[in-house]
């Protein structure tokens, strides 16, 4: 009796394995592809509303909500002659990959959304890809910047993954060009955010295409507040400029502490800095001789009708200047709208097709064209800060 029980025990594992294989065969789904649209168009938001990236996620949420409010005010999106309103379903992914995958699964399966906006970070973004691809629901990330984000392992494009922002290589090399040509900086020190792909990716791209000498590359972590040690170590390196890719909360402090330490060389950054809070944190006096690459310029905005309207609407709604993250998120929603109107259908598969075909779309962040790799192409400008205010915007070709 005992032996047989043991045999059962030993055989248990194999039995389970066999069962697993059987299950794999029998669970094939026979659903039709994608989520068809109902009376309203459902847009899901998979966003970093808590956790490390919550600050950026919440800015994006504001942009999304503003866009949807405006669209619904006008009666909704015109789907083949019929106006349909947007229902927004906002879910928090805690800045965590596993939660992002779960949120995406809920959005596409339970909420049956037609398209997703988000997430803000590359990590959370890649985590949702398997689930949305299975369900054939497209997503537009306002700010996932890793060059490979939209690509499969084979290098083919992910059919349902789009972004509204630049990828790192483009922005990094533009900054390198600007530093070398426009600022005539021959020696540059790099100080990059090491806690996400954003800072390191940009630093890598910058290093690759910069023609001058890189005298030092140092890293900081998200949430760091003291950069005096690194900046002091830059002091005797005879640098002409500092390239500091990262987000405004840390770069603001870097600018402030650099100026206090008597480092007055140009500081060049990326669109994560393009936020009015940068100058507030750095102090307007320190925020001089500061440059950053950005698609969205508050200065250029005055000439661009779409951007100007957005700026005013945002200020009316939230009582503050619009940050770049909100603008990108606002554009993401409108890109989905454009895709629906062009395809005359709000079915998720059709939206994906429409998104891939977007050309010269007039967004807040410039004229957007989606290329074959689902990257957003749009003009890039370098904004100059003087005394905390944008004093010039140079377009880089």
């Amino acid at each position: 009796m005992r032996k047989s029980a043991i045999k059962k025990l030993m055989g248990f594992g194999t039995a389970m394995m066999v069962a697993g294989i059987l299950a794999g065969c029998s669970t094939a789904k026979t659903e039709s592809k994608g989520n068809a649209a109902g009376n309203t168009i459902k847009i899901g938001v998979n966003m970093e509303l808590s956790g490390a990236a919550a600050g950026y996620g919440n800015s994006q949420k504001q942009g999304i909500q503003l866009a949807v409010k405006e669209i619904n005010k006008k009666g909704g999106i015109n789907v083949n002659g019929k106006k349909k309103k947007i229902t927004l379903i906002i879910r928090d992914n805690k800045t965590s990959t596993s939660t992002s995958a779960s949120v995406a699964a809920q959005l596409v399966n339970k909420d049956k959304v037609n398209a997703i906006v988000g997430p803000a970070t590359t990590n959370a973004g890649t985590a949702q890809i398997p689930n949305i691809t299975k369900a054939a629901v497209p997503s537009v990330s306002p700010s996932a910047t890793d060059p490979n984000y939209t690509l499969q392992k084979s290098g083919k494009v992910q059919p349902y993954v789009f972004r509204a922002c630049y990828q790192n290589n483009f922005q990094g090399s533009t900054a390198a060009k600007f530093a070398y040509t426009n600022l005539k900086a021959k020696r540059v020190a790099i100080l990059a955010d090491n806690s996400s792909d954003y800072g390191t990716g940009l630093a890598k791209a910058f290093k690759k295409s910069y023609k001058g000498k890189i005298t030092a590359s140092q890293y900081f972590q998200e949430g760091d507040k003291d950069f005096n040690a690194i900046l002091t170590s830059f002091k005797n390196k005879k640098i002409d400029a500092i390239y500091a890719p990262g987000y405004y909360s840390e770069i603001g402090l870097i600018i402030k502490q650099a100026r206090q330490a008597g480092i007055n060389v140009p500081i060049i950054g990326s669109d994560g800095m393009a936020d009015p809070k940068l100058a507030q944190i750095a102090g307007s006096k320190s925020a001089t001789n500061v440059y950053y690459t950005t698609p969205f310029s508050t200065r250029v905005a005055n000439q661009n009708g779409t951007a100007k309207k957005f700026m005013t609407a945002f200020k009316n709604e939230y009582n503050e200047e619009a940050p770049t993250f909100s603008a990108l998120a606002y554009d993401s929603v409108n890109m989905i709208k454009e895709a629906i109107e062009n395809e005359k259908s709000a079915d998720s598969v059709k939206i994906a097709e429409g998104l891939a075909k977007i050309k010269n779309f007039d967004g807040v962040t410039g004229k957007i064209t989606i290329d074959s790799k689902h990257n957003a192409h749009k003009p890039i400008v370098v904004e100059t800060l003087t005394d905390g205010k944008v004093s010039a915007a140079t377009e880089i070709k």
Binding site: G55, S59, K225, D226, I230, S233, G252, I281
Partner: protein, 292 residues
């Protein structure tokens, strides 16, 4: 050489902040053997209080500092009363989880109420830089260094010279025996929390002023660092916490200045482990052998 002294100044001013936070950890741990995970978040509360009163009620710096200490002290007492006191006789790991819960609650509650964006702290004191032989030091750095030293001194005096301090020391050695000889356990523990949290509140306002940026998650990283500092110094020991704080501050500065900033935290943890291996109870910790 100038650079070297500059880095020492940088390290000391960073270290004084860790030291100030580590004091709170060490006091609470000394008395009820609880790693008060929410300590870093009380520091965040202090910073937000300072932000509020300076912006809205136009308090000056000293008043903001003192009021933040009072408010944080009070919140420390309330947290202890609600979340830790019911668990005083439970396994210590339970109280640790509650402390983590309190930390989550404060972080996310503040994010919910005030948004999770970083915001600039009002400059209640104008920054002036002094240049001494090529080494730059600002009045705010001096102020932080001075204030932390004064607070540490006061703390040491309270613990060594007052009746309440004696009660605290008694409780930390043996709370049952202390109660037998007439020490009011609840009052002593509340007082310890008030004192430790007040330190954190002071640190919050000073850091807000120094770095000019506060956000609901600002307590997380320095909280863990300060805890490491307290352990390095010998958790439970006040001079140990101060020493540990300065040590970690100087160490981080050293690592960054030689270009290893990507491994800054890793080096701190390596040093932590090495120190613990040499002195398992930290630098100033008493090695209490179990009696057989």
């Amino acid at each position: 050489m100038q650079i070297f002294f500059q880095q020492v100044i940088n390290g000391l001013s960073l270290g004084s902040i860790y030291a100030l936070l580590a004091l709170g950890y060490t006091m609470v741990y000394g008395i009820i053997k609880l790693i008060n995970f929410a300590h870093g978040d009380i520091y965040m509360l202090g910073a937000f209080w300072g932000y509020y009163v300076i912006n809205v009620w136009h308090f000056n710096f000293v008043l903001a500092l003192l009021s933040a200490m009072v408010v944080c002290g009070l919140s420390g007492v309330i947290i202890e009363y609600l979340a830790y006191r019911p668990l005083r006789h439970s396994p210590r790991i339970t109280a640790l989880i509650t402390a983590i819960g309190v930390s989550f609650f404060l972080e996310n509650g503040m994010s919910y109420l005030f948004g999770s964006n970083a915001r600039d702290f009002p400059q209640a004191v104008k920054q002036v830089n002094y240049n001494i032989g090529g080494v730059r030091i600002s009045n705010i750095q001096l102020e932080i260094l001075l204030t932390s030293c004064i607070l540490m001194l006061i703390l040491q005096l309270i613990i060594k010279r007052t009746k309440m301090g004696r009660a605290m020391r008694a409780v930390s050695v043996d709370n049952a025996a202390a109660e037998l000889v007439g020490v009011d356990l609840n009052r002593t523990i509340s007082f310890t929390f008030a004192l430790g949290s007040a330190m954190a509140g002071a640190a919050g306002v000073m850091i807000g002023l120094y770095y000019n940026s506060i956000d609901p998650l600002m307590g997380l990283t320095p909280g863990i660092k300060a805890f490491v500092a307290a352990v390095v110094g010998g958790i439970g020991s006040v001079p140990g916490a101060s020493l540990g704080g300065f040590l970690i501050g100087l160490l981080e500065t050293l690592v960054q200045s030689i270009g290893l900033s990507a491994y800054k935290d890793a080096v701190v943890y390596v040093v932590l482990i090495v120190i613990l291996l040499i002195r398992p109870m930290g630098i100033f910790g008493k090695n209490v052998k179990e009696k057989v």
